[in-house]
């Protein structure tokens, strides 16, 4: 039997293991691993089951969104912001619109402000229910919490489709207001949904919050202290789970958030259970905001008199919004033409991953998956 032709030498470099780590099992979890929430790879060195080293690898979904935006007009890159964090396209739209409105101060009519708050809080509900569903899937509950969450998410996505035309890629915000008004009867359907949501949350909490296995698997796992979180630039529910009171809806009070009374839940231990519970409690606060907004939304136009061609004067602007994942910021440099000179997105998911290795080292591989689930990343935003 003729020896098989030698396989062509692979052009990629072969990594040599040094002796100190001879006994370790190196596993690369990803990029297509069932629980990495997208194409995200972690090179994990395991001593038995416990994680010794964990190096995240990014870039599998890198589309260079920022270079694209430099080649297009301001309006043309609005639909691309839907694809940043494809779970809450309205929050991304709002962050971009907010930054662009600082370039050219266009007054936003009252009804548009209220509709913006309603859409943002509805996406927060969608994001937090889906996150709790994925988190439970990582814990091993085979799909039941996820499907209860998706049942509610479907209703909200139907509302988005009736208002903006698309379920996930809404492309609904414009500089100075919204693209079009919500159809007749939409507000009543939203009131009905918001009315029925607490019953779903009670059922969800009854299913999850006292379950001994969830308590045992998530408490004291991946503990993040407040100071470490601030220094690592962690924002959003993950920061508040470590006890730091920093919510952009209260700090910047952008849009008309100062008119609504709502509270900010704070965690004490900063472990996976707190991150999970903070999102459950934040959903209840979002419901309060939605009730108040739906109660006193005025009639009127939804689009301010924005200029037909958006050509801002030369300026540098940084606008940020409390997206369900953290602080989503847009840094725009305008140079007087219709195209932005520099268009930078501050991705909360990527920066929240800074501490992934610190949290996972010392825990077992099952916990590494749970910790990654509790950080709530979406690869569209991480890799841009």
């Amino acid at each position: 039997m003729s020896t098989a032709a030698p396989i062509a030498a692979p052009p990629y470099k072969l990594v040599r293991h040094d002796e100190a780590e001879a006994g370790l099992l190196e596993v690369s979890m990803g990029p297509h691993h069932p629980s990495t929430h997208g194409v995200f790879r972690m090179d994990v060195k395991l001593d038995g089951e416990t994680v010794v080293r964990l190096k995240p690898v990014f870039g599998y979904l890198h589309r260079n969104h920022e270079k694209l935006a430099e080649g297009m007009s301001y309006l043309s890159s609005m639909p691309f912001t839907d694809r940043l964090d494809y779970f809450n396209s309205m929050a991304n739209n709002w962050a971009y619109a907010l930054a662009a409105e600082k370039l050219v101060d266009v007054p936003v009519p009252e009804r548009a402000q209220y509709l913006r708050v309603i859409m943002a809080e509805l996406t927060r509900l969608v994001n937090h229910t889906s996150l709790v569903g994925f988190f439970l899937n990582d814990l091993g509950a085979l799909g039941t919490p996820l499907l209860y969450a998706f049942r509610e998410r479907e209703r909200i996505l139907d509302l988005f489709e009736q208002a903006s035309g698309a379920r996930m890629m809404c492309n609904y915000f414009r500089f100075g207001g919204l693209r079009c008004d919500v159809p007749a009867g939409w507000l009543d359907r939203t009131r009905a949904l918001v009315g029925g949501f607490p019953k779903f949350l009670d059922e969800f909490e009854k299913l999850l919050c006292e379950n001994e296995i969830i308590l045992a698997r998530t408490q004291h796992v991946g503990v993040l202290s407040g100071a470490q979180a601030i220094n690592a630039g962690i924002t959003g529910p993950m920061l508040r789970a470590s006890g730091v009171n920093y919510d952009l809806r209260k700090v910047d009070a952008y849009g008309i958030y100062d008119r609504f009374s709502f509270r900010v839940p704070l965690g004490a231990a900063g472990d996976c259970y707190d991150r999970f519970m903070i999102r459950m409690l934040e959903m209840r606060e979002s419901l309060k905001i939605l009730e108040q907004a739906l109660r006193d939304i005025p009639e009127g136009p939804v689009m301010g008199n924005a200029p037909r061609v958006f050509k801002p004067a030369a300026a540098e602007v940084y606008g940020r919004v409390e997206s369900p994942k953290g602080e989503l910021g847009f840094y725009l440099i305008a140079d007087g033409t219709t195209k932005p000179y520099r268009y930078r997105v501050r991705p909360p998911s990527l920066i929240n991953l800074t501490v992934l290795e610190d949290l996972c080292v010392g825990h077992s591989i099952a916990d590494a998956v749970v910790i990654l689930g509790s950080i709530d990343i979406v690869l569209g935003e991480v890799d841009r």
Partner: protein
């Protein structure tokens, strides 16, 4: 000699066929029940080939899956140990199949000589049962090691640790019933329960709980499905299996569920006994299967609700909670059986067992519990 062989064949062949077909039904049942728990409909449109008839409530789904498994290519990884890779699914299936005929499943058409053969040959059915099912641990680890895949290796090692440590509570809780009946033979145990089932005695109920939880771990089902944890190690020991070997693993898993639940029904729920059995003897089969499917519904229901344990918690739960409870249950049952006044011993047994369970669960949940959260304005 020939007619005993024929009788043995007549005894075992129907049992094997009945349970293999029930396997197909159970896969459909599991997908339908899980679907209904998750507010969806489950498979309902499998059209019979070459006919326009479409709405078949998905009953052909197992047939479709089986055919798909036959057609799928059977991939063996480059570096895998080919012989062990092939042997593992066989070793997972054969013990499960063998154990099925130990169950006191008296077939309706069996005449006197068949019954004698069945009774005589298997007077130590329970001991033989545990002996054969422990081969399953070997099969799972062989699959994990032979696939030469890091995830399978992790799955295999987890399986060994889990099955070994849950074998002991399983056997101890069965020992309580054997102590009560005084014989290892399944027929005698069923006969002893003709008046009242062991489940209705406090030590019987505790023994059933331990037995049921340990049987979940033994067959890698729901809270204990660590060897095949999708979210952590892809599919555990059968990551590298595809095609019919993968189907064999599934067949093996489901048959071992039937076997262990059959034993649970024999030990605690009085095998084939049930109302009207004296009038129509063939009803004992129906009762036996009905009780098994009752337990299977609970297993599927658990699978739809409960997340997975971590390996060290799994071990702690077995050694620190189930083990002491089953040993205590052994003593309590011994005292209760010696002192023959049920009105005195039963409440006492119940009290002691409940106190032990409470103490052990507090030990297990030292710094873990629901929390309250404060809000910032």
């Amino acid at each position: 000699m020939i007619d005993t062989l024929i009788h043995i064949l007549a005894l075992t062949a129907p049992v094997a066929m009945i349970f293999a077909s029930l396997f197909a039904f159970t896969t459909w049942l599991e997908r339908k029940i899980l679907a209904r728990i998750q507010n969806r409909i489950g498979p309902n449109y499998i059209n019979i080939p070459f006919t326009k008839f479409r709405k078949t409530f998905g009953l052909l789904q197992p047939a479709a899956d089986g055919f798909k498994m036959l057609v799928k290519e059977d991939i063996v990884p480059h570096g895998a140990d080919r012989f062990l890779h092939l042997l593992a699914p066989i070793l997972a299936l054969v013990p499960a199949m063998m154990v099925l005929c130990l169950l006191p499943f008296d077939l309706p058409f069996a005449n006197e000589s068949m019954k004698r053969i069945h009774a005589a040959a298997l007077d130590n059915a329970v001991l033989l049962f545990f002996g054969i099912t422990s081969i399953n641990t070997l099969a799972v680890f062989m699959a994990g090691w032979a696939s030469r895949n890091k995830y399978s290796l992790l799955g295999g090692m987890r399986a060994v640790a889990q099955m070994v440590s849950y074998e002991i509570p399983l056997v101890l809780s069965a020992a309580v019933v054997i102590m009560a009946v005084g014989s290892l033979s399944a027929q005698k145990i069923v006969a002893a329960q003709s008046t009242h089932w062991f489940i209705f005695t406090p030590w019987g109920l505790a023994a059933f709980f331990i037995f049921f939880i340990a049987s979940l771990a033994e067959t890698n089902r729901s809270p204990f499905d660590l060897p095949e944890a999708e979210s952590e190690i892809i599919a555990g020991y059968f990551t590298e299996y595809s095609g019919f070997k993968f189907a064999l693993f599934f067949l093996g898993e489901y048959l071992s569920i039937f076997a262990i639940n059959g034993l649970a029904v024999t030990l605690f729920f009085g095998g084939g006994n049930g109302p009207w059995v004296q009038a129509h003897p063939w009803l004992s089969c129906v009762w036996f299967l009905a009780k098994i499917f009752g337990l299977i519904f609970i297993i599927i229901w658990l699978r739809g609700t409960v997340p997975r344990l971590r390996v060290d918690q799994l071990m702690a739960f077995a050694w620190k909670f189930l083990m002491p409870l089953s040993i205590l249950n052994l003593f309590v049952a011994a005292v209760a059986l010696k002192v023959q006044q049920p009105w005195l011993t039963w409440p006492l047994c119940a009290l002691v067992l409940y106190a032990a369970a409470h103490g052990l669960s507090r030990l297990q949940q030292k710094n873990v519990g629901p929390r309250t959260y404060q809000y910032a304005e």
